[in-house]
């Protein structure tokens, strides 16, 4: 990797990454890839997030579903760990709570394959720094 020598270099890395991500997210259904983020902080792992992640990777593979499964830090929903965020191509991300292996199976079958919301969906209850404007 070349060293970052200027803000422009930094911007290039940002844009490269975003366009790669955009391609996965907004492609039409046949092209787009399902994105799954598993909250893997100490709290999530203690509640079984590793198992959930392994299960998701295996099961998506078995069903030949094109998906990227990555780990993130804690989303803050300790009461509902393990939590995962699923983004279907062209759709808003949805956060699911209490995702053990069984729920993960349901989510793959009903939501990812069937498009139907299942189980405990956690509503977004915060503003991001982009959303918050000076009043």
């Amino acid at each position: 990797m070349a060293k970052v020598k200027s803000l422009d270099d930094l911007k290039k890395i940002k844009e490269e990454f975003l366009s790669k991500e955009e391609l996965q997210k907004n492609g039409d259904k046949s092209l787009g890839i399902v994105q799954i983020k598993v909250a893997m902080a100490t709290c999530g792992i203690a509640s079984g997030a590793k198992k959930t992640m392994d299960y998701l990777i295996n099961e998506l593979d078995n069903r030949a579903i094109d998906a990227v499964v990555t780990q993130t830090g804690c989303m803050g929903y300790c009461y509902a760990e393990p939590t995962i965020e699923v983004t279907l191509p062209g759709k808003e991300p949805v956060v699911f709570g209490y995702v053990d292996e069984k729920r993960a199976g349901d989510i793959i079958e009903k939501y990812i394959q069937g498009g139907e919301l299942v189980g405990d969906v956690i509503p977004v209850n915060y503003e991001t720094i982009e959303e918050h404007n000076i009043e």
Binding site: L10, T72, E127
Partner: protein
């Protein structure tokens, strides 16, 4: 702000969104841009932005961050240090761990900005060894930042060099106090020393050292990118921005939350926390950990900020927030925190080493039902002496849980010492299991399960419990099918 969204994520902006082990994801969300921007400004201009933002330290004390940076900058020295306090010793607190595990680069970036402002080329993160995942992710992050040239020599092609190393703590609460932390990093005993001199004048190896908390650092890049005006528009007059809390205890939605300063406890507990578990009644909320106090119903509508919490008899602390319901005994709660303090006192000064032990013993006597009204007087008196005469913040705040529960729940203390009753039914020594002779059918089940043979009675006749033998295990109460046994 939209009414249904009570939280704003600034310090936690990336937690849960990015893969913490991939620097590109951090950069894709504007990571390291603030550092690049800062390097195009003068250090004074950067410090001025931080000062104007109104950011105050999130490690507990609430000291103005920009001012601290300026103080460290002004001291002339060959070598200075930037330290990140990631000791996080409060029981039940995990705000800093979550930031380090979910967004390690934000801390590295902010430390580099601090190095540029204060004139330090070296950063140290003091982290407890009990945080292996955070340590691993920090190591990966430092490696990647070095690879990208965002740490090391001539950062952004400018005449600025900065690097960061990790230092491990053994997990002592007192080592979170900044002077003790520095001694621990120097390989000395983790004991506090009198301030002044403050670390900004004479810290690590005698050099000027800027110590900030993890969450404090996590706010820095956002202030520089969004502007001090944006940041200062959030919060109350004297407390700007947001605070991350670890919401725990008897609420439905336990977890990490980040709310604007000025949010009320009611909004936190009932709107975000989803109210009290199992439909029970709210009784108190503990903030500030072992240095804080218990607030009650009457404090629910106070806007949370540094000054209001202190005025209410508690404090912000690092962000632990434990909610209690009607089943919690406040004397036992005070005893729990005192037990922690006694364990964690470094023992250097007498008021804290001996005083807290005595406080604990008095509380223990009260929960055993052997306390007197005179003990309440002693608690208050001794508590105040410990506050006034201890050397460091640990001792100076350790009586707070006792004093604040006495202030807000004096009746409950009185019930323990006068009537020898625990209204919440938590102090075992003060409860009795009693058989109601009218409801007892003499089935003998309780007598058979009692481990100490405290129950006697003829078959088909009412049974009785011998209180002098009963060890209050509750087995009989659980087993009786006729609801004949009650607790008093």
């Amino acid at each position: 702000m939209a009414k249904d969204k009570k939280q704003i994520r600034i310090a936690l902006r990336n937690c849960g969104f990015i893969n913490p082990e991939n620097i590109d994801e951090y950069i894709a969300r504007d990571g390291y841009q603030a550092l690049g921007k800062a390097l195009e400004m003068t250090p004074e201009e950067v410090i001025d932005e931080i000062k104007k933002s109104g950011l105050r330290g999130r490690g507990g004390g609430g000291f103005p961050t920009g001012l601290k940076w300026e103080l460290t900058r002004k001291v002339e020295a060959e070598q200075k240090y930037v330290v990140c306090n990631a000791d996080e010793g409060d029981p039940g607190a995990f705000m800093d761990r979550s930031i380090l595990e979910g967004d390690p680069h934000t801390v590295l970036e902010a430390m580099a900005i601090n190095g540029y402002c204060t004139g330090a080329s070296k950063g140290l993160i003091y982290i407890r060894a009990e945080y292996p995942l955070a340590i691993e992710r920090l190591k990966i992050a430092i490696g990647q930042a070095r690879e990208y040239g965002l740490l090391g020599d001539k950062i952004f092609g400018k005449d600025f060099s900065f690097d960061i190393e990790l230092r491990y703590g053994a997990g002592a609460f007192v080592c979170g106090e900044e002077t003790a932390l520095i001694h621990s990093m120097e390989g000395l005993r983790g004991e506090p020393t009198v301030k002044p001199p403050f670390p900004s004048e004479s810290g690590y190896k005698g050099a000027p050292t800027n110590v900030n908390n993890v969450e404090t650092y996590a706010n820095i890049p956002v202030i520089l990118l969004k502007g001090s005006g944006w940041f200062a528009s959030i919060g109350t007059e004297k407390s700007k921005g947001t605070k991350v809390f670890a919401l725990a205890g008897k609420v439905n939605n336990v977890g990490l939350i980040e709310v604007p300063m000025g949010t009320t406890l009611r909004e936190v507990i009932f709107d975000i926390g989803g109210g009290i578990k199992s439909g029970k009644k709210f009784k108190a909320v503990q903030t500030g950990g072992p240095s804080g106090g218990c607030l009650t119903e009457k404090h629910l509508d106070i806007p949370i900020d540094y000054d209001n919490l202190i005025a209410s008899g508690s404090m912000m602390g690092s962000g632990g927030m434990i909610v209690m319901d009607e089943d919690d005994c406040m004397v036992s709660v005070a005893k729990f925190y005192l037990d922690f303090t006694v364990e964690e006192s470094c023992g250097k000064c007498a008021p804290c080493r001996l005083g807290n032990k005595r406080l604990y013993e008095i509380l223990d006597t009260i929960t055993q039902g052997k306390g007197t009204e005179d003990d309440l007087f002693k608690l208050r008196n001794l508590g105040n002496v410990i506050k006034d005469t201890s050397l460091c913040g640990l001792g100076q705040t350790s009586p707070n849980p006792v004093l604040s529960t006495m202030e807000n729940f004096y009746d409950e203390y009185l019930a323990h010492v006068k009537d020898h009753k625990c209204p919440a039914g938590q102090c075992k020594a003060l409860m009795s299991y009693i058989i109601n002779p009218d409801a007892c059918v003499g089935c003998t089940l309780c007598a058979r399960v009692c481990p100490v043979d405290a129950i006697s009675g003829e078959k088909k006749m009412p049974h009785v419990i011998d209180q002098s033998i009963c060890i209050k295990c509750g087995a009989c109460f659980e087993k009786c099918k006729f609801g004949a046994i009650f607790i008093e």
